[in-house]
Symmetry: C2
Subunit: 216 residues, 2 copies
């Protein structure tokens, strides 16, 4: 896990400018500060774990005064939830648009694999946080996140079911859907762009194995 | 993660009798106590996390007096290492015997998948501990464990390489090996024998997808 955190952790990323707000306005600055806090939390949670990171650590690294910090965020748990919700909503948006597209089930599965490889490669710090510290969320937040994750899985299941019904796939078993998601999700542990890994080449390898099989 | 821990946690398992020692001897009792401590640690680490479990918690649940506890184990970290080392050695023993067997590469891969599905299903608490808290190990212990895990992966890579060289497999890419291991390892999150999941049916689904492909 440490290699992932080290590989993913970078310092000094510029905060994203909030959409629709002119830069420099008070509201725009507030949103920019909040973004910087969230980005810093991703970095620290991935590197040191949720429990090993304090709100004060995040404030110091994000260069936000302790007194101002709680104006922007309510708690460390809210930060964790925000990080995991955003990433999961991003995954869901893509999966839903592929699932509802006017495409053959085989093409949909190819696109789901390709899109999801990209999501995991881009968000491997968030995946590491989810896997290690997702259990720190409880109650409504945990339930909401689980609903989002279930919806992502439902997209994959629907594509498999449709393809199976149409005679395109041999199986739409729950084990196949979970196996495909496991194959792609675990990428967060071994993806190394610095060693030449690319989203495209990995997606190609996964598609070839899952759709056509390894046997020549 | 909590569902896994809850599903895997059981109380009151009888301690395994140490091999080659007569039951009831002082040494035999000592080994039995150590086994009970380790089994209790698996249970508590899986349910509450490594950092959420104290040595005192383990002693109380394993019914070992605080004064006697440190006679049997040196530290909580030693327990974590022992748990992860045992499970990984078990995985490696099986993978090596399949890899060196006198079999066709395709049969070897089928057996690797089947054996590893069984290992993960049996040890899903250990896998959950590894994924969540493996990073708590450092130095020599972390390095030794990484060597064992690399050896497991090398077995899979060797089978793929041999099959690729012999023209049996389309690819022996590192992404394929990691994809196969991800497919099987993530089983710890969703395997539910109480809902009818069996090692055999899951292994069959995985083998059919990975070897023959989903496309009919």
């Amino acid at each position: 896990m440490s290699a992932v955190a080290a590989g993913g952790a970078t310092l000094g990323k510029p905060p994203r400018r909030p959409r629709g707000r002119p830069p420099g306005s008070v509201a725009g600055q507030g949103a920019a500060t909040r973004e910087r806090i969230i980005e810093t939390a991703v970095e620290l949670f991935a590197a040191r774990g949720f429990h090993g990171t304090s709100v004060a650590d995040i404030g110091a690294r994000a260069d936000v005064q302790p007194g101002a910090l709680y104006y922007h965020i309510r708690s460390k748990h809210e930060l964790l939830w925000e990080i995991l919700r955003r990433y999961t909503e991003h995954a869901l948006d893509g999966a839903e648009s592929i699932t509802t597209a006017d495409l053959d089930a085989v093409d949909k599965l190819r696109r789901l694999i390709g899109f999801h490889v990209g999501i995991i490669a881009e968000h491997r710090r968030e995946v590491a946080i989810q896997v290690r510290d997702g259990g720190a969320l409880t109650g409504t937040r945990a339930a909401e996140l689980q609903i989002l994750r279930d919806k992502v899985q439902d997209c994959w299941q629907r594509v498999l079911d449709d393809g199976h019904r149409a005679g395109r796939f041999r199986s739409a078993d729950r084990a196949v859907v979970n196996g495909l998601l496991g194959m792609v999700n675990m990428l967060y542990l071994w993806y190394r762009p610095e060693n030449g890994d690319t989203v495209e080449s990995i997606a190609d390898q996964f598609c070839a194995m899952a759709l056509d099989g390894l046997i020549r």
